[in-house]
Symmetry: D2
Subunit: 411 residues, 4 copies
Amino acid sequence: MKQTAEPKVLRDPIHGYIHVSEQVVWDCINAREMQRLRRIHQLGGDFQIYHAAEHSRFSHSLGVYEIVRRMVNEIKELRDGLSEFEKVTVMLAGLLHDIGHGPFSHAFEAISVCSHEQYTVSIILQDTQIHRILAAVDARLPQAVADIITYSHPNDILNQMVSGQLDADRMDYLLRDAYFTGTSYGNFDLERMIRTIRIDKQRLCVKQSGIHSVEDYIMARYHMYWQVYLHPAARSYEGMLERLFQRMKDIYRKDAQALAQVGMFHPFLADREANVEELFHLDEAAALYGLSLLRSHEDAVLADLARRVLDRDLFAYLTVQDEAQAERVIEKVKQARYDSTYYVFCDHASQMPYSPYQRNEEGHNIWILGEDGTVRELSMASDIVHALCREKLKEDRKVYFPKALLESVME
Amino acid sequence: MKQTAEPKVLRDPIHGYIHVSEQVVWDCINAREMQRLRRIHQLGGDFQIYHAAEHSRFSHSLGVYEIVRRMVNEIKELRDGLSEFEKVTVMLAGLLHDIGHGPFSHAFEAISVCSHEQYTVSIILQDTQIHRILAAVDARLPQAVADIITYSHPNDILNQMVSGQLDADRMDYLLRDAYFTGTSYGNFDLERMIRTIRIDKQRLCVKQSGIHSVEDYIMARYHMYWQVYLHPAARSYEGMLERLFQRMKDIYRKDAQALAQVGMFHPFLADREANVEELFHLDEAAALYGLSLLRSHEDAVLADLARRVLDRDLFAYLTVQDEAQAERVIEKVKQARYDSTYYVFCDHASQMPYSPYQRNEEGHNIWILGEDGTVRELSMASDIVHALCREKLKEDRKVYFPKALLESVME
Amino acid sequence: MKQTAEPKVLRDPIHGYIHVSEQVVWDCINAREMQRLRRIHQLGGDFQIYHAAEHSRFSHSLGVYEIVRRMVNEIKELRDGLSEFEKVTVMLAGLLHDIGHGPFSHAFEAISVCSHEQYTVSIILQDTQIHRILAAVDARLPQAVADIITYSHPNDILNQMVSGQLDADRMDYLLRDAYFTGTSYGNFDLERMIRTIRIDKQRLCVKQSGIHSVEDYIMARYHMYWQVYLHPAARSYEGMLERLFQRMKDIYRKDAQALAQVGMFHPFLADREANVEELFHLDEAAALYGLSLLRSHEDAVLADLARRVLDRDLFAYLTVQDEAQAERVIEKVKQARYDSTYYVFCDHASQMPYSPYQRNEEGHNIWILGEDGTVRELSMASDIVHALCREKLKEDRKVYFPKALLESVME
Amino acid sequence: MKQTAEPKVLRDPIHGYIHVSEQVVWDCINAREMQRLRRIHQLGGDFQIYHAAEHSRFSHSLGVYEIVRRMVNEIKELRDGLSEFEKVTVMLAGLLHDIGHGPFSHAFEAISVCSHEQYTVSIILQDTQIHRILAAVDARLPQAVADIITYSHPNDILNQMVSGQLDADRMDYLLRDAYFTGTSYGNFDLERMIRTIRIDKQRLCVKQSGIHSVEDYIMARYHMYWQVYLHPAARSYEGMLERLFQRMKDIYRKDAQALAQVGMFHPFLADREANVEELFHLDEAAALYGLSLLRSHEDAVLADLARRVLDRDLFAYLTVQDEAQAERVIEKVKQARYDSTYYVFCDHASQMPYSPYQRNEEGHNIWILGEDGTVRELSMASDIVHALCREKLKEDRKVYFPKALLESVME
């Protein structure tokens, strides 16, 4: 594998330095599809609350690459057991795993017929700068990278490294999001984690002596989810974005011409898969500019929602006990003559696909390797994780609506 | 002064929390002109090198406000000596001082007929959301805030707090830029600095016992300038942006219609002052979207420069000894049939208006208050700053040109 | 209350600065009984494992004082609700709470007829420098401080602040021990904790919105206990110290003269309460010097144990399943002709009085104050703490014995 | 070289982990002469001011070892150019370089006929546990280690690594002392420093691109010296210790029996070289215990000075302009009937052998390796260091005397 003339390093607040010595990695970093990620925030709506969390998917992608690179170099079984080709493949998969993301993260995905993983695969396999860089090294490389990203590489360890339960993706984003939000919650001991990872029967495991860092990591996930990712104001922002996109779709279906000025959104409004060129052009700058044009759209609902999103005029929320109470709020929104399709929405946290860790029947678990060589699933090895898993999920039901109605709703 | 219902706090990685208890401050933070600053990066081209330094002017503005707020509350002479009105005025000036910034910081200012300070004043005094919020509190408030920002408030201490030599602006950006770049260079002891600031004859001074923190702060400036702000790759990015804007202007002058699709730039291309509404709409999202449209512009130079900026295809550089050597590089660029107006530029660091600290005849100095009550200018009180000031400036002359020419230029 | 001429500050890595403005606090810090705490390590045996955790009880005491000082100034109900006398009393109680500690922490206490709390009270109430400083301010002050330390002050809030479940003592030692060990486990968000503490019906509570920082704090306790405080090598060191003291006692009972050279230990060997002067002289320097004299004692067991402790020749350990397996190890130690009274001991973690948090029937709980004003005990308000409390304790049974026997024991 | 059964790691707040994989290193760490360093503070009197700086020479020694280990593994020319034997030798020299230190650092050395380096060499070459461990590996090893410590190893690079201008000793103590004092002053970018060190003609150099980290390192030295190491209160403590030891010597010369109870000091009082066994027993615990016995010595001066040192009743100081003013203070001390031999002393900072960096004619310089392969001495390559070197030293003349005289002296 061709090396760079001299090792490259990029200063990074999480990892100290990102180290690059393979030319293909360096070229991918400089490819236009990667550079585009500089124009997409890592956290969809969260920097609406944590104002300093303005980092991009580009920074995060470098971080994931760096963790994979360290795993491959510092975990003895990987250093000795993987081929050079496999090592570069999995580092590239770490680097490129988010390359198909659109603006605003999950809110945007909600209106797209394709997931960001599908778009990622398209960018890697179709005619893009990234694809050409990979294919020039080895014709099999694009597919091998894509296989890891779709969790279907024949060497299952590689899949686990990028998107398992002890994956580089999650490790980087917890540390990075904690650093940029300025909370201490997402911290865990990455050094010790990497030092205690072992491979047993094609599974990433953590040695018994590292179980405390795993518990800490699970708690980091728990806290970051409740404190950052599911923060009500972030949910409010994302919910408003979803309604805004919905309104666009509803208008587009009736009269596409009415949205002529926001051409960047058309593939998505038309409910078709965007091609790689369309996707390339839809970064967050384009999306925000599109929204800024909509501030003065003739459709009052659309214009109002665009203004709210841009000026951070977030919906207020009320925590409700049950469906009935939620209905009463919705009724008040209607009475105030707001269109309830766009101006009110519910959020039910325990329905959301999240828990810091759950035992998984299909085997996507965290495994603990005992001193005697036996392997146990994490919740069997850790009292605290066991406790967490048995606990029924926190119920958290909220209704969101325009701030102006706060008083009337509270009555 | 009306207080918020309860004290508001915003989590911030530099200050722990930003504390807000005046309603007018809270309302200004939520005004659309402030929210726009979320869409403008703090560091023009620097996050091209320090990938994690993606923070916005919004975060920085909150930080400046917080330092002013602490000064006003923790420095005894200010706490006791300023009126409530002055306190709120100077906190607001800290918060709003950057509100007139356009995208890409200095590169953009280079093509604008107005400075960002002038635009800031316009936003505060003309009919904007910010103005209405301020005026509603007190008809004199907008002008008082603007006076501080133009360094012309009758109470000179207020001017110094926001843009003197020991100002909250610089203190926040050094700490913040260091944090987000991930370097340790910009750190200094803010706690101790604030603890040792005193007022003497209408001048902010630092007590003798705090002189080490001042030296550290000057060194932080020194290092950040050379390591971050004047980094050659940042200069390359900014130089390219300037040439790109120049090319737009040159085209616009001949045929404004040829740039119809990038209407957001027109006021600036026409060399007139933008009105507050035009400026409001020109955030970095709009500018980047404009550049992305120019990727496919029929003017090949414009399209190429836009692509280079967006895809980070930076000009390479060569350090040269003198004018003559620079000329030889320029000649080679011409020979390679590049238009030298746009494809080559020089940068001469010692000409740049920077040194970490220089004694200023007009009195804009850092003052050290001795135990005996005498006040000395910093370079008279500190050996190390004295040494720095006597040193002749580091000469650093570089020529920038397309990377493709690197080999031929090096011959 | 007399103020110091100017506010005093002491640089501290945990709190930034320790702030002192009452003369009585400053005088107590400089009293010889406080200065003695510089010669007693905070962590008994733990710095045998975490080599950098060499901080003293003096540093910790300053930290506890600082947290109490902040509570008293930053929690509105305390700032407004406590009298000046109460404020100073509780700050002093924080400062002085550990003043009766002897060397080696718990190992030493095991051979003493008095607890360190009893000695603390003696120092405050009897004729000492500390006592004279306190009494000179107000004749009632020594008793008031002692009351808080014995958890019997009529204003129960003061007791809770120093040694409740949300007490300054624990908050400081978790943060401090984490910092000096170099682990990240003990970190929690002190800022947010203090910001969300409220008083309800004479109980310290935390607002619902601060529950995540409380959970984080409980987890910090959990991790620090298992990773630091109950670390097997720390237990080994402490167990050896206990056996060493036991051997001294056994010899002393038969022939006090045989221990003439280690007079500093005599009050403790005689199983009587030491007077304040004897206690004053028994710091860790004296104790370690005493042990170094015992290196060459004619009693071979005593000399050997002293050498082991000083040279860190720690007992090895084996994790055993049950009593029977432990017995087999003990048998081997006997077969190897070691005196099993001193050369083998068991440690059974679930018997130890520790769990990161347990609901307490007598009301010593952490209370969560809901938005609606209702107060719930923490494990009722937090799923994760609820889970922790229901979990049966981790069983952890270890036997410790001379390293030289490791192979034969493992057979 | 024999490896440990598995790599050992020790948690360390400065370096994350200390990594050990050679059995001889591990055995030396566990030797009783190394363990003794746990009972000697790293900073003589400084933790009298920075209360948290209570770390020992043991921690520091591990840190020096770790930096040497990293140099040897991460600097290509060393990794490839040194033999295995040289690598282990220099790592051991880093670990053992302080092993001959007595209590209280420099104050103690002032009364000793031998330097701590001489004692270090004795411990390595004479019959000690350390010596036996080294000699068992290779008969030449003790001498080779001692050669590096005396800066006389034939491979000069090894000498420079441990005690040159870019040595592991200084790098560790700056970082470590900064961490434990809680100041930010001593920080510099160790990562980058190690990454940019090169070897040129048997000299350690730093690449031009690393010059900013070298400047930062010089500034760290500058700040730590003035803020910590030369802090007046630390000087006061050390000066008092010197006078205390002087008083002991003066008494001992007349009547050795009068100091029978403090036998641990006798070799030093007798002005002879202590043997390794005597030195081994004189750790800080012994010395402090000795002082505590002197509290009640019949010689009033000795008893008073011992009490002052133990209870931190430090001498006050006055900054004076010249010799004459110093004389006037001394006169007042005499008038107050204090014995001026012990109760007053001067301190003249510019006479002290310190400056953060000076060009050295014998070649002990920091060298900067240019991109063109030329090597320049640091002050020729760095404007800021050049400025520092030209500056005449800060004059700082202080007189110390009993606090009780403060008012009369100030008159």
